[in-house]
């Protein structure tokens, strides 16, 4: 049933339940997946608001754009690989190949850690070059946004660690499939967020 | 029964209170009679809805209260009634909004030839600056603020030298001339508010905000700060005197210009740190 039909239903006229008992026996989507999507809605709101604050603050005369750091391109590459590896794990899970799941997860995790380490390196470099957080609002936004993104990725790594542990312990692919999918969705999402942040940084 | 009666009493009491209340707005002293008119219009429309809805409710409570054997009517919805009610409500909303927006347009459109002057807010006092003979206010920057230059006027800007500074004194305004208030703050948010003028606007450090009025009667009025600005917020008062233009000009001529006050300060005759005067409130 479409959303419009659902919301215009004259529910006082119809009585009874669907004759088809399968109708609501199991929801169409897993709870975890719907939960993740709702959660992504919330963080989208968070990042969008931060970016609009960034946009407004840019309009003030003291804004001096930051020079882009070459390592950021490399870090972006790391995150892309991490995301691809997660997708590999998902595909393997669908084909019920436990080894593929394990390898994909391991690779995804390692590259995510590498990304975070790379981000920290950029931070250290910037501080060495005298780009402190108080130097300029552009710096401040850069540090806050990257920190926020990094924190979200770290949170994802907690979920990843649990999934990874289960993938090693369990021998049934079916049990971990949902967790792997959720991790992958979250990874892709954070990759998307990072690309937007990076683009904003490049443009300004 | 008693419930319906009390509900009705609440309606009658509210309307009665409104009619006999001695607390009503202060006699207006500016050109913004339109604002009062818009409020009155809003009162009529919303007051009608208030009385109608609540009287109807009281009637329902009286008429359809539970009695033995009474059964409610079954009626899920009535599209016709709901459409009618939406249309009527929309009309009411349009009737209030349209004049409101017209008056707002006037409120934010300063007439050509309005006199400009500046109100400076800081914790917790008001100061004023008039443009002087050249009719232009000098540039300012909070970075320039020192004990001798409390307004932060750019000393390099010639337009600033003849600016007339008013500190620790009442504000004077000429009668019947449109004035544009340029509002500036050095520290936190303030809000320049004179109840009789009906107008008010926040003052934001780093920005210049404005509003305009034409004073329409002579008199002495309170200036209040209407945006919480710290522990001395309630004590941030001032006085504005609206007077005939000639009296106003005499008063203005007695006030020191920026150049004069700087010279005085440099001479070391009178070193008053006006900036710290506000600190005594705390």
């Amino acid at each position: 049933m479409g959303l419009f039909q659902q919301l215009t239903e004259k529910s006082w006229i119809e009585e009874g339940v669907e004759a088809d008992p399968r109708e609501r026996a199991a929801p169409a989507h897993a709870n975890g997946k719907v939960g993740l999507w709702v959660f992504l809605g919330t963080i989208s709101s968070l990042f969008m608001l931060f970016l609009s604050a960034n946009y407004v603050r840019m309009g003030y005369p003291d804004w001096k754009p930051m020079s882009e750091h070459g390592l950021l391109w490399f870090n972006t590459g790391l995150l892309v690989v991490s995301s691809l590896a997660m997708q590999w794990a998902v595909t393997a899970a669908r084909r019920r190949k436990l080894n593929g799941v394990r390898n994909g997860l391991a690779l995804g995790g390692i590259f995510a850690f590498a990304f975070l380490a790379g981000q920290l390196l950029v931070w250290r470099d910037l501080v060495d070059q005298g780009h402190y957080i108080t130097t300029n609002p552009a710096n401040a936004f850069y540090y806050v946004l990257t920190a926020l993104h990094g924190l979200h990725l770290s949170g994802g790594l907690v979920a990843w660690a649990r999934t990874f542990a289960r993938a090693w312990r369990d021998h049934n692919v079916f049990d971990v499939r949902l967790s792997v999918e959720l991790c992958a969705i979250y990874w892709h999402y954070l990759l998307g967020v990072w690309i937007v942040l990076f683009a904003v940084l490049l443009i300004t | 029964m008693i419930v319906a009666f009390v509900l009705l009493l609440v309606v009658i009491g509210s309307v009665g209170f409104h009619l006999i209340s001695p607390w009503w707005w202060t006699p207006i002293a500016s050109n913004w009679g339109y604002i009062d008119d818009t409020i009155n219009l809003t009162f009529w429309i919303t007051g009608f809805v208030f009385v109608a809805v609540l009287t109807f409710m009281a009637y329902c409570v009286f008429r359809f209260r539970h009695t033995k054997g009474h059964k409610a009517h079954y009626e899920p919805e009535s599209a016709k009634l709901e459409i009618w009610l939406s249309v009527l409500t929309s009309l009411g909303v349009i009737a209030m909004l349209t004049p409101g927006l017209f008056v707002w347009y006037q409120f934010i459109t300063v007439p050509d030839g309005a006199d400009e002057f500046e109100v400076l807010g800081q914790q917790w006092m008001w100061s004023y600056r008039y443009p002087g003979k050249d009719g232009r206010l000098g540039k300012t920057d909070p970075r320039n603020v020192t004990a001798d230059n409390p307004f932060g006027i750019d000393t390099a800007d010639p337009a600033g030298q003849d600016d007339v500074l008013v500190q620790g004194e009442d504000l004077h305004l000429p009668l019947d001339r449109p004035v544009k208030f340029l509002l500036r703050s050095l520290d936190v948010l303030h809000d320049f508010y004179v109840p009789q003028f009906r107008a008010k606007m926040d003052m934001i450090p780093g920005m210049i905000t404005y509003f305009w009025i034409t004073p329409t009667r002579t008199g002495t009025f309170d200036i209040l700060c209407a945006e919480l600005c710290g522990v001395g917020h309630h004590a941030m008062r001032g006085i504005v005197v609206v007077e005939e233009e000639s009296a106003y000009k005499d008063w203005l001529a007695q006030q020191p210009t920026f150049a004069q006050s700087l010279a005085k300060a440099n001479a070391g005759t009178r070193r008053v740190s006006t900036l710290n005067a506000g600190g005594s409130v705390r």
Partner: protein
């Protein structure tokens, strides 16, 4: 209207409901303390919210004492006064109302009303409460740090919030911001549960349009909260950076008491936009659950279906959507671009239309009803009075030019207390009288309840109705004392003293209510499982109070909407949602529901 005669469907056996991986408590601690049962979490949320709400109540007495009798209480100095108003506002809006409606009512009633055994993520739900508790404790801690809690006003406008001219600008504000950030994190965890449970956890036959409006109200409010709270989070984080690290997100160049600060270039208005992007939806986060609940109270106690159910749902959705594009009506005199005023005044007044329709529908539900003047009904009626009053003063403040003289005066204080203080609180009281029998198995004492109702309703109205007129007079809000002026007559002080006396009376009548809550727990009359003869699922549980898992062995199956009251021809004047059509002898024109799948 389809005129299909009723063709009874045979009773459909419940679908095999797997014993889901339901959480089972193994010890006293996991059952009552670190519980994952939504009902226990709901009670934990409610008690915590009420406890901190009492602090907010006492703060309001203190501030009213100062305003009513300015020279009598030497221990209330300006610094304390501003701290009281700030903490009162923040506590009441966020830590009491939001937490009670969503964390309390949401947790208890969503699973019960949609026919689920529990929330979908019980563990996350438990975390939500504990983080909320920590947020409350951090907030309380700010009373005890040096300098006390922040006195910046609940709006926390920079720059003054973090400058030394404001009380509590050191430890107090930092703890406040940290507490808010924690609250938001905790709330997000709970909010995910409420939304996903409504979307996923509904039992068989419970379509969206068969949901009681209580669930709809909480559902939409939660969605608003999930999207709006991030704005406050962003503002809080950036302000923390400005305060602790010296960034200039919001801080322009400032000369504070003659001293140049190292800030520069920031935008105080940016914070205001962020704050109100959260702040206005927040009003509806409090109001929408009240709208939903009051619809159900009126319907049950007037023995009549809610009039225009579909319109009520659409109005909730419309109000929720519009609430995101009206925020700057709090900023008409903030110095923002004045041309924004045209847009925001228009959107604000448009939002009045769905809101007004809701009011009409509540009143029309009473028309030709069978009104039982029970306590929940009384509170619902009182809600309508205060809400209509507070709603129409909103039309004053929303109409940009009318707002100019009234903003930042006592008119605003009176308006928002009436519309989002008194009105939702009356609904909370009404719903406690309504659901207490289900939650505890006992009725609340009627006599104490009547006393509580009349004092609260008439008292609160007598507090806030006249207060508007102080605003017309021009008395500004957030004033420690108005002192000597040329425009405020002495009689205004008399009115202020009257308001203070009423505040104390209404405040103390809440003690009677709290006593009633405790006394009735032990001595209240034993309640029927369904004392109000209501149709919704929470009243159809096999046990009262509902046991763990809510519905015993089999989940209920829903055959009808939530408002089958006084159906023509039916024996009883209500038909529970889980009553199969074959067992009802109604002559209502209905049609059997067909499978919509191809």
């Amino acid at each position: 209207m389809a005129d299909v005669t009723n063709r009874d469907i045979d009773y459909v056996a419940p679908a095999e409901v797997e014993e889901e991986e339901l959480y089972h408590a193994h010890s006293w601690i996991t059952k009552y303390v670190f519980s994952q049962d939504a009902k226990v979490i709901a009670i934990q949320y409610s008690l915590t919210a009420i406890a901190i709400g009492l602090v907010g109540l006492v703060l309001s007495w203190l501030m009213r004492l100062q305003l009513g009798f300015p020279d009598y209480f030497s221990f209330i100095d300006a610094e304390h006064y501003y701290q009281f108003i700030t903490m009162h506002g923040m506590i009441m809006v966020v830590y009491l109302l939001t937490a009670l409606f969503l964390g309390g009512f949401g947790n208890y009633f969503i699973p019960l009303m949609v026919g689920a055994r529990d929330m979908v993520f019980p563990y996350v739900n438990m975390l939500s409460f504990w983080i909320y508790l920590i947020a409350v404790l951090v907030l309380v801690a700010s009373f005890f740090v040096e300098g006390g809690p922040t006195g910046a006003g609940w709006t926390l406008y920079p720059p003054q919030t973090i400058l030394s001219g404001t009380p509590g600008s050191d430890g107090g504000i930092v703890l406040m911001l940290v507490s808010l950030a924690l609250f938001i994190v905790g709330f997000t965890m709970g909010g995910l549960n409420y939304v996903v449970t409504v979307l996923q956890g509904r039992t068989r036959g419970m379509t969206m349009m068969r949901l009681p409006l209580t669930v709809w109200g909480i559902f939409i409010a939660t969605i608003l909260a999930l999207l709006a709270f991030p704005a406050l989070f962003v503002g809080a984080i950036m302000m923390l950076f400005d305060k602790l690290l010296g960034t200039s997100f919001f801080m322009p160049a400032i000369v504070e008491l003659g001293e140049q600060l190292s800030y520069g270039g920031g935008s105080p208005l940016l914070f205001q936009h962020l704050f109100w992007f959260f702040g206005h939806p927040e009003v509806y986060i409090v109001a929408l659950p009240a709208f939903g609940i009051v619809s159900d109270l009126i319907s049950v106690h007037a023995r009549k279906n809610i009039f225009g159910y579909r319109m009520m749902v659409w109005a909730l959705v419309a109000i929720g959507g519009l609430s995101f594009i009206v925020w700057a009506h709090h900023m008409y005199v903030s110095g923002m671009n004045p041309y924004f005023g045209f847009f925001f005044a228009t959107t604000t007044l448009i939002i009045a239309i769905p809101t007004a329709l809701k009011v009409y529908n509540w009143v029309l539900t009473l028309w030709q009803g069978d009104i039982h003047l029970t306590l929940p009904m009384l509170f619902a009626l009182a809600f309508i009075v205060t809400f209509v009053n507070g709603g129409i003063t909103g039309l004053f403040l929303g109409n940009v030019v009318v707002d100019v003289p009234l903003s930042d005066t006592m008119f605003v204080v009176a308006h928002f207390h009436m519309v989002m203080g008194v009105a939702p609180l009356l609904v909370i009281f009404g719903s406690i009288y309504h659901w207490y029998p289900k939650i505890t198995g006992r009725m609340l004492n009627e006599g104490m309840g009547q006393f509580h109702f009349w004092v609260t309703f008439l008292g609160a109205y007598a507090i806030f109705f006249p207060m508007h007129y102080l605003g017309f007079l021009g008395v500004p809000r957030r004033y420690y004392e108005i002192g000597e002026t040329m425009f405020v007559p002495d009689s205004a002080q008399t009115l202020s003293a009257f308001i203070t006396v009423m505040t104390l009376i209404v405040g103390f009548s809440q003690v009677v209510f709290l006593f009633n809550l405790v006394w009735s727990l032990f001595h209240g009359e034993k309640a029927d499982p369904n004392p109000w003869r209501a149709t919704t699922l929470e009243w159809q549980t096999p046990e009262t109070p509902p046991g763990h898992g809510n519905f015993g062995k089999a989940l209920p199956i829903v055959y009808r909407w939530a408002y089958d009251y006084s159906v023509p021809g039916a024996k009883e004047d209500f038909i529970p949602q889980n009553m199969p059509p074959s067992k009802v002898s109604g002559k209502k024109k209905t049609k059997p529901r067909r499978a919509k799948r191809k």
